[in-house]
């Protein structure tokens, strides 16, 4: 009875966590207040740990400690009910069981210790040595986040634009509206699809195989749960070896022949406890039993892992760059300008650095901490945050960068810092964000239509929030841009609307490797008006 309630509660908690987390990523109408993001993601293990390393505050980033305590109490409950990727796999498993005509059963399978500890070792080294891009491919929360951002969110937007909006706007309901469908680059989408597909396939066939073979968080928490207070235990006298427990164990860790449960692989889902007709299985405090009895594995030395990360960085970089270039143009629904013939002999924009989001402090720090979960990409109201391909080099592959071909950063918005669960983008008060210089605008006169066509333009200056880009007299009454980099914050409001096509923009933002503080623009005196004045005409 108690186990029935436990299992029900686990299911309810898991579904609630999954829905809440999912909603954060597809919040296209910005209904979720920014400050709730942190609370909802507080318990995500890797983001919380990295966030703690970034800010050393348990209030903002103590979730990982709570998870450790929870694991010491009941084992890997995190994997069962808090990890969005784990819950997603359970959904897939459930669908698989429901779809198949004959009932599907799991069977006990041997663990894969070499793989498990290798991936764990890689993860530990990546965190210690700052290999953010490795972390981003192993952290389960981030994998789930990317699938939400790059696979599910476009679907939601598409459904919104294609179904919801046309129907409701027919009835003159304008509280729903078209969202810009900004599809990410082909490579991130395909990689996300491939990884999510592979994990989904494993889940369909083998339950939590991914969690117990590859996921380093699973392996780590598995090791911790060797010491947990409550464990699933057999009562050999009651057990009839009917095999029902093993049949519902998605971790494939119940060995009825030996009356043993591999605690390191058990995700504390309570399925076996609930189904056992003889109540032969129980969740009981561990007696002075040898932990090794319940676990089949031996810890591998870490140097196995060390060997496998010593890649030739340059070769990998080349490979990724090549791939990125091949994938080339993106598919997105924004319109391109038709350009006249007169604009040739233009100078190509050469950026020293990409532009990293405000709150990063520096590109190097950002690349170390970001796990590429892409929550900021999903949450960014203007869509300016997009996954990087080769912009940061290999170390920042799939981490967000300010993509000024898609949009520009809203001066009065600091949402990315508010939502980031890892502290890679630290929250900035709006006043501070407005003087955080992510990069500096560079004006290329030879490319500017005022110079090439001798016509009015000024799109860059129009949008500039600090008037770092101002227009000064040129000739024939024309005005031409002039940049004051000291008050420029690198928001891209000039680069985005510049009518010259990439990569020949007449004005572009060169990223700052280390973010600087820009000067505040001088506001000058307000002009007084005498209302006794007459009309000038």
């Amino acid at each position: 009875m108690i186990y029935k309630i436990l299992k029900k509660s686990r299911t309810i908690i898991a579904l609630a966590v999954l829905v809440l987390t999912f909603v954060l990523f597809i919040d296209i109408y910005e209904w979720i207040p920014e400050d709730t993001f942190d609370s909802i993601l507080y318990l995500q293990f890797v983001p919380s740990f990295l966030h703690f390393l970034a800010v050393f505050s348990l209030v903002t980033a103590g979730g990982f400690l709570l998870i450790l305590l929870l694991t010491l109490l009941v084992g890997r409950f995190y994997c069962s009910a808090i990890c969005p990727l784990g819950i997603l796999q359970d959904v897939v498993t459930r669908v698989a069981r429901w779809r198949s005509k004959k009932k599907r059963f799991f069977k006990y399978k041997k663990p894969h210790p070499v793989l498990r500890y290798t991936f764990l070792g890689i993860m530990v080294l990546a965190i210690l040595l700052g290999g953010g891009w490795i972390v981003s491919w192993l952290d389960p929360y981030s994998i789930a986040g990317r699938s939400f951002t790059y696979l599910f969110k476009p679907l939601v937007v598409w459904a919104n634009n294609g179904v919801l909006v046309p129907v409701l706007q027919k009835f003159e309901v304008y509280s729903v509206y078209h969202q810009n469908l900004i599809l990410p680059y082909l490579v991130p989408t395909l990689l996300t699809l491939a990884l999510t597909g592979a994990i989904g396939y494993f889940a369909w066939k083998r339950g939590r195989l991914f969690c117990n073979t590859i996921c380093p968080v699973g392996t780590f928490l598995g090791e911790v749960s060797r010491f947990s207070l409550l464990k699933v235990k057999f009562d050999q006298d009651k057990c009839t070896r009917c095999g029902k427990c093993s049949g519902v164990c998605k971790s494939e860790c119940i060995n009825i022949k030996e009356y043993s449960v591999d605690t390191t692989r058990c995700v504390t889902c309570f399925n076996c406890l609930e189904i056992c007709p003889e109540s032969a299985l129980s969740l009981t405090p561990a007696k002075k039993q040898n932990a090794a009895e319940s676990s089949v594995n031996q810890m591998k030395p870490v140097d196995v892992a060390a060997n496998s990360v010593g890649h030739d960085g340059n070769r990998r970089k080349l490979l990724v760059t090549g791939l990125a270039l091949m994938a080339g143009g993106r598919i997105h629904a924004l319109k391109k300008n038709k350009m006249p013939e007169s604009q040739k002999d233009l100078l190509r924009n050469e950026k020293d650095h990409p532009v990293a989001p405000p709150g990063c402090k520096s590109i190097a720090r950002f690349n170390e901490v970001c796990t590429g979960c892409s929550l900021c990409v999903a949450a960014c109201p203007t869509g300016v945050l997009q996954p990087a391909l080769a912009e940061y080099g290999l170390s920042g592959f799939m981490q967000p960068h300010m993509d000024y071909s898609t949009s520009f950063c809203n001066f009065d918005c600091n949402k990315c810092g508010e939502v980031c669960p890892t502290g890679a983008i630290l929250p900035l008060p709006i006043e501070e964000k407005q003087v955080t210089q992510m990069g500096k605008a560079v004006f290329v006169k030879q490319n500017c239509v005022v110079y090439t066509d001798e016509t009015d333009c000024g799109a860059c200056s129009e949008h500039c929030p600090t008037k770092a880009v101002d227009m000064v007299p040129y000739k024939n009454g024309l005005m031409i841009p002039q940049v004051d980099q000291s008050i420029c914050i690198g928001c891209g409001a000039c680069e985005y609307p510049c009518p010259v096509n990439e990569p020949f923009k007449a004005i572009y933002v060169n990223g700052n490797a280390v973010h600087q503080e820009a000067e505040k623009p001088e506001t000058g005196e307000k002009q007084e008006v005498d209302h006794e004045e007459d009309f000038p005409f």
């Binding site: 009015d456 000024g458 600090t466 008006v529 005498d530």
Partner: protein
């Protein structure tokens, strides 16, 4: 501030009218007309909505522009994510009164939208426009998606041969254009003609293909039935977005009329500039799309309180 200091400063601002001793005096240009038959109305010194009412009296009342059962488009400037005090967008109180006035005149529906520069939902919200227009009974629709726009051709245009125009303009019977009086870093002023860039989809084409010519060209497709320049607050520099409230002068003025070029010509003079110095106004005048010669118009000048 001493009056003398003010005069020195306002020379830069260009309130050259300060030099005319009596309003409507000898220096004032234009022709006489009866009340209700003026071409242009210029008001100073009142609240935005009151100045609008005075101007409409001079122009013959809203009933002259809107008749029963007509669908009206009111197009303010809502281009920027900025509060009303920054004068980057049209005054929401003025829009509220215009919408009510249209409905009182019998309009079947009043639609309000703009194709914004900043993120559109924040612009609508933070400008105060959404609340104000909806409160008056207008339908406020988005302008952020290409699917709202339909291709039109402009055979008489020189550069802007075709463009995509918002369907709400194409479906409207009456078009009321309500820009805000703003400086513009490139085109010097952003007034009624410039405000029409907010009804087309591809503004980048304008910028890449002779901005001033394209602004004038658009008038060959359609001219608003009524233009009301909101000068309650005036952006005197750093336009069209502005940097802070110190870019804003509390001018308390309003200029309204049917001829968009004339309205812009008059509004330009509030900056101390001459209409022919503004490329798009000069071009529009030369193309015969309106007149910037204010001495050929009957102008009603009204000073309140």
């Amino acid at each position: 501030m001493k009056r003398r200091d003010f005069l020195v400063k306002s020379a830069g601002l260009g309130l050259a009218g300060a030099l005319v001793p009596h309003f409507g005096g000898l220096n004032a240009v234009g022709l006489p007309a009866e009340e209700g038959k003026y071409d242009l109305a210029a008001v100073r010194g009142g609240e935005a909505a009151d100045m609008f009412e005075k101007a409409m009296e001079a122009l013959g009342g809203m009933g002259k522009f809107v008749t029963s059962g007509q669908k009206v488009l009111v197009k303010p400037n809502i281009g920027w994510d900025a509060p009303p005090e920054r004068a980057a967008n049209t005054n929401p109180d003025l829009i509220n009164r215009i919408v009510k006035s249209c409905l009182d005149a019998g309009a079947s529906e009043v639609v309000v939208f703009d194709h914004t520069c900043d993120q559109w939902d924040r612009c609508y919200r933070n400008s105060g426009m959404e609340e104000s227009a909806r409160g008056a009974g207008a339908k406020i629709v988005p302008g952020n998606n290409e699917s709202f726009y339909r291709e039109v051709s402009l055979p008489q245009a020189k550069k802007l041969k075709s463009t995509k125009v918002h369907k709400e303009l194409q479906e409207a019977d009456v078009f009321i254009n309500v820009p805000v009086l703003k400086h513009h870093s490139s085109t010097t002023v952003s007034l009624a003609m410039k405000n029409l860039m907010g009804v087309v989809w591809d503004r980048g084409y304008y910028h890449g293909n002779d901005l001033s010519q394209c602004i004038a060209d658009f008038l060959t497709y359609c001219k608003p039935d009524l233009n009301i320049v909101d000068g309650y607050r005036m952006m005197t520099r750093n336009g069209p977005r502005g940097v802070s409230v110190s870019d804003v002068a509390d001018l308390k003025a309003l200029i309204a009329g049917k001829d968009i070029v004339a309205v812009d010509a008059a509004a330009t003079m509030m900056f101390g500039r001459k209409p022919h110095e503004i490329n798009h106004i000069r071009i529009a005048d030369e193309m015969g799309l309106g007149t910037m010669k204010l001495d050929q118009l009957a102008i009603k000048r009204i000073k309140m309180g």
